[in-house]
């Protein structure tokens, strides 16, 4: 069906004199503006915004929405993003006035329910991670990485050690090196083995007293659990370093294995992945962190503390790195995470990971004969298959497959990441998808391998646009109207 009305950009729909919002009449005495504000501070005219009617605004954004694929409408196996179902009950509950309509500077005695919720979440995240203390402040995973690295700097400053380096495997997510830089560290890459595990030799070589933190994603970006992790942690600790666990892939090991138990000293969670916070077309997320006891003093402020039978926010923490975000972080996402964890309970969370891993392995078993998986026959919550063979045989690339899948009504996997796999298809089905959906997806992928190359090269055929020119976009950027 064609939803084409009012979809042109807002400014092309605008007409002078049109209005949607009306404001109440002013109920206080009205002096001339000039008497209230200095002339030089005043704008010459109202801002040059589009003029629209409410019916047009609603139709515009409603119809635009139909141009998105989403979890509510499509299977969305985007590797490393954990696109699981976002429970409707969480959306309803987070918007209760008693939670959504709270000002961050209200007196603490008017916030006891909220603070209890956040305190309980701190406790639950510590338990799930097998670590000691939690901060809910960071606004996203990357922000959690950065916060932990700042804590590491403070930690070593206090120890009087000048450690300037952060190490991470070449398969690390881009935010790891970027966070290291923002935190003022030098970033050094550690090789991984052909099967995608940390190259212990290379790690040993690079571990010295300049190394502050080794960042690892485990299960890693290939969906493999690096069984050397215990040994890795020993090496890093022996060298006086700290182990950072990038928790983006926690969906594979909830209640099964805990970072704190396999040697991590600090970690972040991505509640918008693991704990079903909606991705919102690119956010908001949150990036709560959990750390070992020795790092607790450095946590950012504020933290929620239990005081008698009440709860309070504490700011007075002498060793804290200070503030990393205004107010109290992305609370709305944290409330959803709380709802999610409470909805599953301990056994349920374990079942989540078991089914995430079951679904991924099933899909792998259906695809591997046509799309080799260099890492082997087993995976955790996701796997990286290669279209290299298909590319060689039929000139159908990972990108072609991604585009053609859209015609079949599926969102594409993550492609060309991680770079260590050629023509990579990074597939993460998540546990909320049914076997029927997985089969339909596998059937589609396999069917495409049989389709005429031209047909596939021409894909997508059923979307509103096809293969935009990204080079042109970057060469002569048009970033506004």
């Amino acid at each position: 069906m064609r939803n084409i009305q009012a979809v042109r950009p807002l400014f092309e729909l605008s007409k002078p004199g049109r209005r949607a919002a009306q404001l109440p009449a002013c109920d206080v005495p009205q002096q001339p503006l000039e008497d209230l504000l200095p002339a030089e501070a005043l704008a010459a005219a109202p801002p040059a915004l589009p003029e629209l009617s409410e019916p047009d605004v609603v139709r515009h954004f409603t119809n635009l929405s139909t141009l998105n694929m989403s979890v509510d409408t499509h299977f969305y196996p985007l590797g490393s993003c954990t696109m699981k179902y976002n429970p409707k009950r969480n959306e309803r509950l987070v918007s209760l006035p008693g939670l959504a309509d709270l000002h961050p500077y209200q007196p603490v005695d008017t916030l006891q329910g909220m603070l209890e919720l956040l305190w309980r979440l701190q406790e639950m995240l510590a338990e799930i991670g097998g670590l000691h203390a939690v901060s809910l402040q960071p606004a996203a995973g990357a922000h959690g990485e950065l916060t932990c690295l700042l804590m590491a700097r403070a930690y070593y400053r206090q120890l009087g050690q000048a450690r300037s380096r952060v190490l991470a495997p070449d398969s690390a997510h881009g935010t790891n090196p970027a966070s290291a830089t923002v935190a003022g560290f030098d970033y050094v890459t550690v090789k991984s083995t052909p099967r995608g595990f940390v190259d212990l030799e290379d790690l040993r070589l690079k571990l010295d007293d300049r190394v502050a933190v080794f960042m690892i994603t485990n299960p890693n970006t290939l969906g493999m659990f690096d069984r050397q992790i215990g040994q890795i942690a020993e090496l890093v600790h022996a060298a006086g370093g700290l182990v950072y666990l990038d928790g983006a892939n926690m969906n594979a090991i909830l209640g099964i294995s805990r970072p704190g138990d396999f040697g991590a000293d600090m970690m972040h969670y991505n509640p918008h992945k693991t704990f079903s916070g909606p991705h919102g077309g690119g956010g908001p997320g949150a990036g709560p962190i959990a750390v070992r006891q020795n790092l607790e003093p450095f946590l950012p402020v504020p933290v929620v503390e239990r005081a008698g039978d009440g709860y309070r926010l504490t700011y007075d923490r002498p060793h804290s790195i200070g503030r990393v975000r205004a107010f109290f972080g992305n609370v709305g996402v944290l409330v959803r995470a709380y709802c999610y964890i409470r909805s599953y309970g301990p056994d349920g969370l374990r079942r989540v990971s078991e089914n995430a891993v079951l679904n991924a392995n099933y899909l792998l078993s259906r695809l591997k004969h046509r799309f080799p998986v260099p890492q082997g026959d087993r995976c955790m919550h996701e796997f990286v298959a290669s279209a290299a063979k298909l590319k060689a045989e039929r000139d159908i690339s990972a990108m072609d497959l991604a585009k053609r899948l859209l015609d079949y009504g599926f969102h594409a996997p993550t492609v060309y990441f991680p770079p260590i796999v050629r023509e990579a298809l990074m597939i993460e089905p998540t546990e909320t998808e049914s076997k029927e959906t997985l089969d339909a997806f596998a059937d589609a992928l396999l069917a495409i391998t049989e389709e005429p190359s031209e047909l596939v090269h021409g894909a997508p055929h059923t979307t509103v646009i096809s293969r935009p020119d990204e080079v042109q976009a970057a060469r002569q950027p048009v970033v506004k109207q």
Binding site: S70, M83, L102, I128, L358
Partner: protein, 445 residues
């Protein structure tokens, strides 16, 4: 199990297809000694009914802004959110989608972000906006990083004491870690004095950070201050209240190099502090240092106009340790909400909201200072917030009383400004009525 479709039959069929006996086998790659041998110690599962009662109970132990007339501000504001914003933003196609990596399957988000960027540049008078950052505070920090990189000056960053104290704390966290001085210039009479600024900037100063209207609600002499920054070769970063731009001059028109703002006011709930919306916009010459995602217009293979993520060579997933920032997930849904909000408000709506805030708050300032006890702390013109001094110096007690009388009356400033321990900040948005203001004045008299 609330959201797990696999049945027992599915499970055995899938295990068979995989070629294993049990799910446990699938976890073989995790060494036994690294496995958790007990259930997590978490409270038991709650059904939807139980969860609804539980959350309802927690919510009931908070006092929502709707239950008391809310005169709190300081960076989070009780502005009205039109119903259409919630109605649209609650569509699954928006909030259950992710970053538009596949443009063909994301034109809705991409166009909305392009529209967002356009609206922000028009509102601020700047050349380029990104597609959002976490919040106003981290946006301020990112802006300062941009200036440090652009100027190559790692000596000093100058901020007015009238900038949001928590934003300055975030800066402090980062700059002290990087060994860069954060010089905070006092604002004893409520605004930054040009002379004080002039003596604070030097040839190693990367930028000057100003807030307009400032944390006390006062209108700064932004244009002069910007000129001083530029004379010293420093960049000029301005943090604005987007609502104020319905009335006040655009930072782009008085020399700002980077503009940041907290976008919460634009259709986003207060939600105890987040998620919020980090707005950042800059001049053309700084675009390659811009953090975060940017949407660009292009054409598809059939010449159709469309939108894609662009200039990605700035970003972490391409440049890794050389990226301009480490941000990945941003605040897409809240940028969308702001886009809808601004579409509904239009030029007239924004002008009227700003005027209502101005007039009502100034009326409130008059009313509150009419009594014996309170007086204006500063003499400079204010926009929608103002600081009053309690002659009895018992701010906490006074605010507590007002609370019992049914008001969130204001924010005590002592926690950030010891010298203002006898003062508090009062905010009046378009939602507050004259009756509420009069009643507040009575309660505080």
């Amino acid at each position: 199990m609330p959201y797990l479709p696999n049945t027992a039959d599915d499970e055995s069929a899938m295990l068979a297809a995989i070629g294993v006996k049990s799910i446990d086998e699938l976890f073989a790659m995790i060494p036994g000694d690294l496995r958790l041998t007990r259930p997590l110690s978490l409270p038991p599962a709650l059904t939807e009914i139980d969860l609804t009662n539980h959350l309802g109970g927690l919510a009931a132990r908070n006092v929502a802004a709707g239950q008391r007339a809310c005169f709190l501000g300081g960076g989070s504001y009780d502005h009205f959110i039109p119903a259409a914003v919630d109605a649209i933003a609650s569509r699954g196609e928006y909030y259950t989608s992710y970053t538009p990596y596949q443009p063909e399957a994301s034109q809705g988000n991409l166009q909305a972000f392009f529209e967002y960027q356009t609206l922000i540049t028009r509102l601020t008078g700047m050349d380029v906006s990104n597609a959002s950052l976490y919040d106003g505070g981290s946006a301020a920090a990112e802006a300062v990083f941009m200036c440090i990189a652009a100027t190559g000056r790692r000596g000093r960053v100058v901020a007015a004491a009238s900038v949001h104290p928590e934003y300055r704390q975030i800066l402090e966290t980062h700059l002290c870690n990087l060994g860069i001085e954060l010089l905070t210039v006092g604002t004893p009479d409520g605004v930054l004095s040009p002379d004080d600024l002039a003596s604070a900037v030097n040839d190693q100063t990367a930028c000057v950070l100003l807030q307009q209207p400032n944390f006390f609600g006062c209108v700064e002499q932004a244009e002069r201050l910007g000129a001083i920054a530029h004379q010293a070769g420093a960049k000029f970063v301005v943090s604005v209240d987007p609502i104020s731009l319905g009335l006040l001059k655009r930072p782009g028109d008085y020399g700002a190099d980077v503009v940041v703002a907290e976008g919460q006011s634009l259709g986003n709930p207060m939600a105890f502090g987040g998620p919020y919306l980090g707005i950042i916009a800059c001049r053309e010459e700084l675009v390659r240092r811009m953090p975060g995602r940017i949407t660009g217009q292009t054409t598809d293979r059939n010449g159709r106009r469309c939108w894609v993520l662009t200039l990605q060579t700035r970003e972490q997933h391409i440049r890794r340790e050389k990226a301009t920032s480490n941000i990945c997930t941003n605040q897409g849904l809240y940028a969308l909400r702001a886009t809808i909000y601004l579409s509904l408000m239009g030029p007239q709506g924004m002008r009227e909201v700003a005027e209502l805030c101005l007039r009502k708050s100034r009326y409130a300032l008059g009313k509150l200072s009419a009594g014996r006890r309170l007086s204006p702390a500063f003499s400079h013109p204010t926009f929608k917030e103002f600081v009053v001094r309690d002659r009895d110096g018992a701010v906490e007690a006074l605010l507590r009383e007002a609370g019992r009388a049914g008001f969130f009356a204001g924010i005590a400033l002592g926690r950030w400004y010891p010298e203002l321990a006898d003062c508090f900040l009062v905010t009046v948005t378009e939602k507050r009525t004259r009756d509420e203001i009069d009643a507040l004045a009575a309660a505080l008299a």
